[in-house]
Subunit: 376 residues, 2 copies
């Protein structure tokens, strides 16, 4: 139940055993074109897609170095580790960054974003972290951004690393210019592949203004794909096979069903764990459905709690990030998450509390979760 | 018989099936510290090592962005695709690049390098591609560079992507400051992990002058390793397991035995294939032992030749790179290469020639290869 890397289905793991092929061969073209086409379906886009061999951070960095130049004005909401990192990368490009800072666990409101656009007519790009893994918040107004964007003609970039595939994000419909994710989150593949989509106008910009970098230079990927359906650098072949299998599973399940499953499991976890005494860290309207961050109960020690949970029940959850270390713990509700994961997690957490001398209401927590899960 | 990715032993492939772990856990520390320690043994270094989740190009780019700043003077021999790319990356940093250009298939001599050092007392770094994959050349005087370096106090950087693990390269003994390779070449692991070693003085420089980049920022890797033996970004876990297994196999065989095996197989391939009528592309004293580039016979068409070889005998070799397309083909002699690979390759190439109507001396080619292989 980690906030990534998440559980990987056996079918996906086994795909890695495919023998190593020549990455300059027809076998590779077959593999890679299927990867690209299925990624487009999951992203709901007809734009170009590149599957980078790197962690999600690599794709995020690619979205910055290929689009932002010295002096560009960029608006970005910042309220956690990953939005801070992204903002830092944009600053490194020499951009003029308009940060919409809010406390951790709380998002900038749509009105605040609108105001920022109104006050910065010369904005070059709007960057947003869809789902802040460090605090368990999620932005709910991504569909409304295009109206602001079109008024300003800015690029719209969504870092959806820890949620894409778990919630509605129709890239073309919402006019997202650049969108990226990581293979090891809601897509339920092993870590190491990071897909990124690029709209035609963003692509044009990137080809006309290639950055002075090599590995994340997207113009180079466009060129190789156009010429031969290859990648410019040797790709992580076993991970591409695994990622392709994960995409197949996603499309077999169907996006709608997958989004619904994520939502229901998340509702059940929030309700069940609230009922046994925890309070979510994030503000109610900003709560993520894939990362559930909960405040520790008074006196409940992070390491002891998580170690007991891991050693007695083999249920793995993550601690807090940075300043939140020891104050919150985080549950991943993504990828293959299902009713058994939810029930087992509530049960194990409740039992761990009992073992540590806390009085908990296990029966109530499980009952309310079970009710929520009925819709599955 | 590709010049990478190369054949991967079953044991290494199977290691990828290890279930996905938390990269912020003791399980990960156990995995990663073994990876680092065994990489140090293979590199013959006590310096810091980082295992990047990227192709070899990622590690090469890391060696540039962490060390080179605007205005720095850098000496680099250039005679092929990979040395050109490296030189390009150094130029992108705003460096003043002294290129020692020689024709493809021919290396700058040691005297030329020495002269460049004599003429550029203010040199900040010397970069060299150990083994040029595009043309099948290999630099033979890496052990003599430290004398020049110490006179100038410059950093010594060796891009050993397509050969490390196949030939002697004692990083500490030869005072190499930064050395990198790729997992999918002579180390015989799947592609996607790129180890890089950094000497104490290079490390100090990198920590004091961190570059404005994220994914390849080595200072960040040093910090995470020192604090917790973690990596800053989610690593490609299955590939790390595979790479660890590949390192174990290398150390079980022993470095000396492995280097000897590479040399003998390479000698046998050169001798056998010369005997059936091919001439090596590279100048004799500069010929690589892991990449054997051969000139096509008059009228021998690249695609037909390689397709026949692949479809009739399942022996895969690579074509030429860039300008050399259609003029040469390249055989990888690395990783798991053994006597059967050598004999089968000569046999299949000879048979392909026969099928295409060429007169070849198969008997002679196999006999001379067999003699060379006796030393194995």
């Amino acid at each position: 139940m980690l906030p990534g890397p998440t559980n990987v289905p056996e079918r996906v793991m086994r795909a890695m055993m495919t023998h190593i092929i020549n990455h300059r061969s027809d076998d590779f073209v077959e593999l890679y074109t299927e990867v690209i086409e299925k990624t487009q379906q999951v992203f709901q886009t007809q734009s170009d897609v590149v599957a980078l061999s790197s962690s999600g951070t690599g794709a995020v960095e690619a979205s910055v170095v290929n689009l932002i130049k010295t002096g560009d004005k960029v608006i970005i909401p910042v309220n956690g580790e990953f939005s801070s990192r992204l903002s830092q990368m944009i600053e490194w490009q020499g951009a003029n960054v308009v940060k919409l800072e809010t406390p951790p666990g709380q998002n900038a409101t749509f009105d605040q974003v609108k105001e920022a656009f109104d006050n910065n007519k010369d904005v070059k790009a709007f960057y947003v972290v869809h789902n802040e893994t460090s605090t368990g918040t999620m932005v709910n107004y991504l569909d409304k951004i295009p109206d602001l964007i079109s008024r300003n003609d800015a690029f719209y970039v969504v870092d959806s690393v820890s949620i894409l595939g778990g919630i509605e994000l129709p890239v073309d419909k919402w006019n997202v210019d650049v969108c990226m994710t990581g293979s090891q989150k809601a897509l339920a593949a092993p870590p190491g592949i990071s897909p990124i989509s690029i709209s035609p106008r963003a692509k044009k910009y990137m080809i006309e203004n290639p950055p002075p970098t090599m590995y994340f230079n997207l113009a180079r990927y466009f060129k190789y794909y156009e010429e031969s359906k290859h990648t410019p650098f040797t790709p992580a072949l076993p991970l591409l096979y695994a990622y392709r299998e994960a995409l197949r599973i996603i499309l077999e399940e169907g996006l709608e069903a997958r989004f619904k499953r994520h939502k229901i499991c998340s509702d059940a976890l929030y309700a069940g764990l609230s009922s046994i005494g925890f309070t979510p860290f994030a503000k109610e309207e900003d709560r993520s459905i894939t990362i559930i961050a909960l405040n520790y109960l008074e006196g409940l020690e992070d390491k002891t709690f998580r170690n007991t949970l891991a050693q007695k029940f083999r249920v793995l959850v993550a601690g807090g990030f940075g300043n939140l270390k020891g104050k919150v713990f985080r549950i991943g509700c993504m990828g293959e998450v299902n009713r058994y994961h939810v029930m087992r997690t509530i049960s194990a957490i409740s039992s761990t509390l009992a073992m540590m001398g806390y009085k908990t209401n296990t029966q109530e927590g499980l009952k309310i979760a079970e009710e929520k899960l009925e819709d599955l």
